[in-house]
Each structure stands twice: as structure tokens, then as C-alpha cells.
């Protein structure tokens, strides 16, 4: 079997805009489920609403495209009804952290055995580019035309504080690292949270000085700093510039988990 078998080929090309990072994260996720050797009949993809949440529609397993913000609630239901199933949730930053914020923290607290991949494009992509809880300070969107004046959510910090067993962040440039992080998340019992920053050329990039798709990818490449390096810098009392993206593994632990196969 190969990753191509996990795709619903009759549904491709998908509806994502040219250069949208969502497609890359689908590749990485399918590569990880292929490597862990899960069977398609025993795997379910769940999502909420948003561009990112359309991902399960292109995957050849059973899937649930639910209501906005509620992917984790539905996924919890599936896992508790049938713990034999392997569940991967695709969710957007708006889906997970705005309307679905409470489901997110409580799923982390319960540490339910799911792998959640958050495609964070820092914007509401599907509805035309409104600001989301992860739009960075100064970021332009249709609802923040003078630049966002609010600090953004640190989704990985939130998941760690709320109790998730595995938490990591990468970007759509770091395809190998992201694939490895998702694979570790799949292997780890309990709530695994992998955030991937993704480019949204249509609604984020073109409003925020990324004229070409490649510009935002170059930005991800030059503005990531490994968590280990950031820790060393902090020890030495050095400042980490606020625009830097912290990437890597934040936590891997073994709190008691819910819904783990007997």
C-alpha cells in the first residue's frame, strides 16, 4: 500500500487554492498513518468546518465532517463508542481555538486517545479572511484592517497546560519533521496535539506581504527556532524575538489517558 491508496482519487484535484499549505499537511499525515501501518477500515478522520476541515473528504477511510468547532466532541464520541478505532482529527485555528476552544481544553484535560492535527493558517480562510485567535499582533485581516492589536493564542502552550500527552509544532515547510511528529503522536497513547503553521496565500499571505506562495514558505524557513535552542537562549538571558516561531516537541508524557484500547 502507499499514500496514494489513502486518497479518494476521484475527488482530486481538491478545492484548496494554488499553493495552500493544507495539501502538504495531508501528505505528511497520510505518510505517518502509512508508516504506523494502520488499516483503512480501522481508521477514522474527523473534522469541523473550514478549508482545513475539508481534508477528510479527500481521504479514503470513513470520516466525519461535523459542525464548526465540534470535531473533538464528535471524535470523543467515536472513540468511547469504539476504542478499537484509530482517530485523527483535522481542525483549523478558528475551528479549534475560537468556536471550539472549550472542547479543545477539555479534550486535553481528559487526555482522550486522539491525534489532533491543527492546520493553523492564522486566519479564517473559508469565510474570507477574518482574524482568528492565532492572527499575530499586527497581522492584517478583513476584521483587523489596521493590524491585529491582540496577542495570539499559543495553541501548544494551551494544550500543554491543559494536560495533553504529546504536543509539537512545525510548519508546512518542515515536511519531514512534521511527518515524524505526527507519527509520534499516533504512537503515543492519550491526546496528541500537532500544530502545523500553514500558508494561506489567498486570505493571509497576500494581505501580509507574502506576494508569492514561496514567500511565506521562506518566512517559515527563516523564522523557526527549535525549542531546545530557545531554552538555551533563555538560560543565557538572551531575548527571543517575538516574531520567531517556536518549533519542535513541547511535551511527551504519560498521564492517564481516556479511551485507550484495553
Amino acid at each position: 500500500m502507499s499514500e496514494e491508496d489513502w486518497l479518494r482519487q476521484d475527488r482530486l484535484p481538491h478545492i484548496f487554492c494554488a499553493g495552500c499549505g493544507n495539501g502538504t499537511v495531508i501528505n505528511c499525515t497520510l505518510s505517518a498513518v502509512e508508516q504506523i501501518g494502520w488499516k483503512r477500515q480501522e481508521t477514522v478522520f474527523v473534522s469541523g468546518i473550514g478549508c482545513s476541515s475539508r481534508a477528510p473528504g479527500y481521504i479514503s477511510t470513513d470520516s466525519l465532517h461535523t459542525t464548526h468547532g465540534r470535531a473533538l466532541a464528535f471524535a470523543t464520541g467515536i472513540k468511547l463508542a469504539n476504542p478499537q478505532l484509530n482517530i485523527v482529527v483535522f481542525t483549523g485555528d478558528g475551528d479549534l481555538a475560537a468556536i471550539g476552544g472549550n472542547h479543545f481544553i477539555h479534550a486535553c484535560r481528559r487526555n482522550i486517545d486522539l491525534t489532533v492535527v491543527c492546520l493553523n493558517n492564522m486566519i479564517y480562510g473559508m469565510t474570507g479572511g477574518q482574524g482568528s485567535p492565532t492572527t499575530p499582533m499586527g497581522g492584517l485581516s478583513t476584521t483587523t484592517p489596521y493590524g491585529s492589536g491582540e496577542p495570539a493564542f499559543d495553541l501548544c502552550g494551551l494544550a500543554t497546560a491543559a494536560g495533553a500527552n504529546y504536543v509539537a509544532r512545525w510548519t508546512s515547510y518542515h515536511v519531514r519533521e512534521l511527518t515524524r511528529a505526527i507519527l509520534t503522536g499516533l504512537e503515543n497513547p492519550g491526546f496528541s496535539f500537532i500544530e502545523s503553521l500553514v500558508q494561506c496565500p489567498t486570505n493571509y499571505g497576500r494581505r501580509n506581504r507574502f506576494k508569492q506562495v514561496a514567500d511565506q514558505i521562506e518566512y517559515f524557513k527563516s523564522h523557526t527556532i527549535l525549542v531546545e535552542k530557545a531554552a538555551r537562549m533563555r538560560e543565557k538571558g538572551e531575548m527571543i524575538p517575538p516574531e520567531m516561531i517556536l518549533a519542535g516537541e513541547f511535551v511527551r508524557r504519560n498521564r492517564p489517558a481516556l479511551g485507550v484500547r484495553p
Binding site: E4, L12, A214
Partner: protein, 90 residues
């Protein structure tokens, strides 16, 4: 193995041109029937995966395939060369 871009899936984002260590992908010049400028391949036989996949029994490099948001990049098995009789006319 032969590297190929599926023109029915490619949307011309040019991300593949960024990640290949051999710079095999070059931005295309002409729009195809769907209005998409698909990248061109510059001597694709240099691709690490084309040359070494069978030796190692796994995908090598594969950067372009992983980053391609449209699942448009793949490799095709080379066809066995069929011996042909050629009549040479002088």
C-alpha cells in the same frame, strides 16, 4: 524510475521548485489547457529517487512529493526496453 507531474492535479504553485536539491523543477513558461503553468523538468534522470529507489528499497529524498500540496508528483516505473529490429537503409 521516471519523475512525473500530473497535469490534471498541478495548480502551478511552484513550491516544488524551492525544495529540490538538484533544482530539477523549473517554473514553467506556458499555460496548459486548464490555464495552469506547470513547472518544467530539467534533466529529471538526476533525481535521487529515480536513481536509487530500487537499490535502497524505499523512497529517497522525496521532498518535492511531500511538499506538493496537490499530490501531483510521482514516479513511474521505467518500461522494459523492447528490442527492436532496425533496418538501416543506405
Amino acid at each position: 524510475m521516471r519523475l512525473q507531474i500530473d497535469e490534471r492535479r498541478c495548480k502551478g504553485c511552484n513550491l516544488c521548485t524551492l525544495v529540490c536539491p538538484y533544482r530539477i523543477f523549473k517554473p514553467g513558461k506556458r499555460a496548459n489547457r486548464r490555464g495552469i503553468v506547470v513547472p518544467e523538468l530539467d534533466r529529471p534522470e538526476r533525481c535521487a529517487n529515480c536513481r536509487l529507489r530500487h537499490l535502497y528499497g524505499r523512497t529517497l529524498c522525496g521532498n518535492c512529493q511531500m511538499i506538493c500540496p496537490d499530490q501531483a508528483i510521482s514516479w513511474k516505473e521505467d518500461e522494459e526496453p523492447v528490442p527492436k529490429k532496425v533496418a538501416i537503409e543506405y
